[in-house]
């Protein structure tokens, strides 16, 4: 690309991996959680989603990982209008997106190693082709000695690191993370940020919803700041866009 993917000016519509055009979203008959969002995320960009609790950060991520649908407007992923995408194609879009869920969503009956390998198995990879990669990744996130452990026996921070490992193991085109440093100490938080930056350097588009002001400030990356379901600010962290 000829320009900085993290530039604050609107991305070219056809260059964007994520594009919101006047998108609103509501749960059932509730009032709109997200209202009239319009923005684009170029390939290889890195953004934080900030805003007070209830501003719609998690809902925004849900729209992108196709766990919810807009009630209004157009959402494009990888250049495809999501509303027009056939149901049988959607799983393949989801495989290009890694998600760190706020509530982790680990499978309690699977070992940490098996949990981390889930996206690769679903993608149809043979165990011998990823065994070593998964082990290295788990070692990197500090779970070397916990590979055989079941999630209920892991501490909160360990679960979070496992959820992160699972999200990034398939080298996704888009990485979404919902409060990924909420349960880890400062040092591990910085390690996780470095992992995300490294993935971003390799071309992954990263979008992180967080309350961690220090993390945002240290990264120097732009923010999408939500207020009451609306996009209040998109660009560098400013005084008015504190997480």
């Amino acid at each position: 690309m000829s320009r900085n993917p993290n530039a604050t000016e609107p991305a070219d519509a056809w260059d964007a991996v994520v594009r919101f055009d006047d998108v609103s979203m509501r749960y059932g008959r509730e009032p709109e959680t997200l209202r009239d969002l319009s923005f684009s995320l170029p390939q290889g960009s890195f953004h934080f989603v900030t805003g007070p609790s209830g501003a719609g950060k998690t809902s925004l991520l849900k729209l992108i990982y196709l766990a919810a649908q807009p009630s209004k407007g157009l959402l494009h992923l990888f250049g495809q209008d999501v509303a027009q995408t056939p149901a049988e194609v959607r799983p393949f879009l989801r495989r290009r997106i890694g998600v760190v869920f706020q509530e982790f969503r680990l499978l309690d009956h699977l070992s940490a190693f098996d949990n981390a390998a889930v996206p690769l198995r679903i993608a149809g990879r043979k165990p011998d082709s990823y065994r070593q990669d998964v082990a290295e990744l788990l070692t990197w996130v500090g779970l070397k000695d916990r590979m055989h452990a079941l999630p209920p026996t892991l501490a909160g921070g360990e679960k979070q690191r496992l959820a992160i490992a699972r999200a990034v193991v398939g080298r996704p085109d888009i990485l979404l993370a919902d409060e990924p440093t909420g349960n880890v100490d400062h040092e591990m938080g910085l390690r996780i940020l470095r992992l995300f930056l490294e993935l971003n350097r390799l071309g992954t588009t990263v979008l992180i919803a967080t309350h961690d002001q220090d993390l945002v400030a240290r990264s120097g990356m732009p923010v999408l700041h939500l207020e009451d379901g609306r996009l209040a600010h998109m660009g560098p962290l400013s005084a008015g866009a504190r997480p």
Partner: protein, 302 residues
């Protein structure tokens, strides 16, 4: 998840992917038990229907293959000679396999229950009976027997058991349809419980469905996981129910005896084969229910 993986150091080279669904789940115990019990009842009903059908056929067959001729002696001959002449006559009629005059004692024994113990049968003109066994291939008609007896100047009445046969056949048909109705009802209940329990079991694993769905698993892949798992479970439960029903059927066959159930409900060894489709049917119902539930659940998520 095997115990080997939970204890001791993690052995990377020996690692094999664990099933996406837990291999054993205590939540499924109730499902297995209920399906096994219903399959047992369904199999038992099937055995009962088959046995009662056989009994009814046996009775009908026996009655339709025989006739009884009542011979009244004329003034110039004794009852015994009249019966003997009738038996000889009937034996020569085409379609009769055997005709045998019953002894006086047997004829008296047949009518004794109606006259009471106090009656002196020696003083009564007890008619003689001739038992006729018909040829199974081309049985003679009652009319042809009557004509043959008349031609020989015998005063006789032919009883072809029509009245009894109609009653027995009607009773057998009712028993057959009632049994079939009960069997279908129990089978439908078993199918409904399998479907319901499968849905409940699948709903309890909603977190697995959601995660696989959001990680990019195709709907058919997820549905197949549950389909196979619940089909296996139901097949196992169906097998347990079928084995217990077959064991009970075998016990009836062996222990029924002449005074037991065997004459009324004649269970044959080959009847026990009727339980064989049970595990397959249970698995089929569970597979369909699991697939439909999984597809609906996934549709809710999409």
């Amino acid at each position: 998840m095997s115990r080997r993986r939970r204890s001791g150091p993690f052995e990377l080279e020996r690692w094999r992917p664990a099933p996406f669904l837990p291999e054993r789940d205590t939540r499924d115990s109730a499902l297995v038990f209920v399906v096994a019990v219903l399959c047992f009842l369904a199999c038992l009903t099937a055995l009962g229907v088959i046995a009662s059908d056989r009994a009814a056929r046996g009775w009908s067959h026996q009655l339709s293959g025989e006739m009884t001729v009542i011979v009244r002696p004329k003034a110039n001959e004794t009852p015994d000679s009249a019966a003997a002449r009738a038996a000889e006559t009937l034996a020569g009629v085409p379609g009769v396999a055997e005709a045998r005059a019953l002894e006086r004692e047997k004829a008296e024994a047949l009518i004794a229950p109606w006259l009471g113990e106090a009656a002196d049968l020696a003083d009564l003109p007890v008619p003689r009976l001739v038992a006729v066994v018909l040829d199974r291939e081309s049985p003679a008609s009652a009319r042809s027997l009557e004509q043959a007896l008349l031609a020989r100047g015998l005063d006789a009445v032919v009883d072809d058991h029509t009245t009894w046969l109609a009653d027995i056949q009607r009773g057998a048909a009712i028993a057959r349809w009632v049994g079939l109705g009960v069997f279908l009802l129990i089978s439908a209940a078993a199918a409904a419980v399998v479907a319901f329990a499968t849905r409940a079991g699948l709903a309890a694993r909603r977190e697995v469905v959601e995660l696989l769905h959001l990680t990019g698993a195709e709907d058919a892949f997820i549905a197949r996981l549950f389909q196979v798992r619940f089909a296996q479970m139901a097949a196992g439960a169906g097998l347990v129910g079928a084995v217990f029903a077959a064991a009970l059927g075998a016990a009836l066959r062996l222990g029924g005896g002449g005074d037991g159930l065997t004459p009324v409900l004649p269970v044959a060894w080959s009847d026990l084969l009727a339980v064989l489709p049970c595990p397959l049917a249970a698995a089929l119902v569970a597979a369909v229910a699991a697939r439909m539930t999984a597809v609906n659940l996934i549709r809710e998520l999409s």
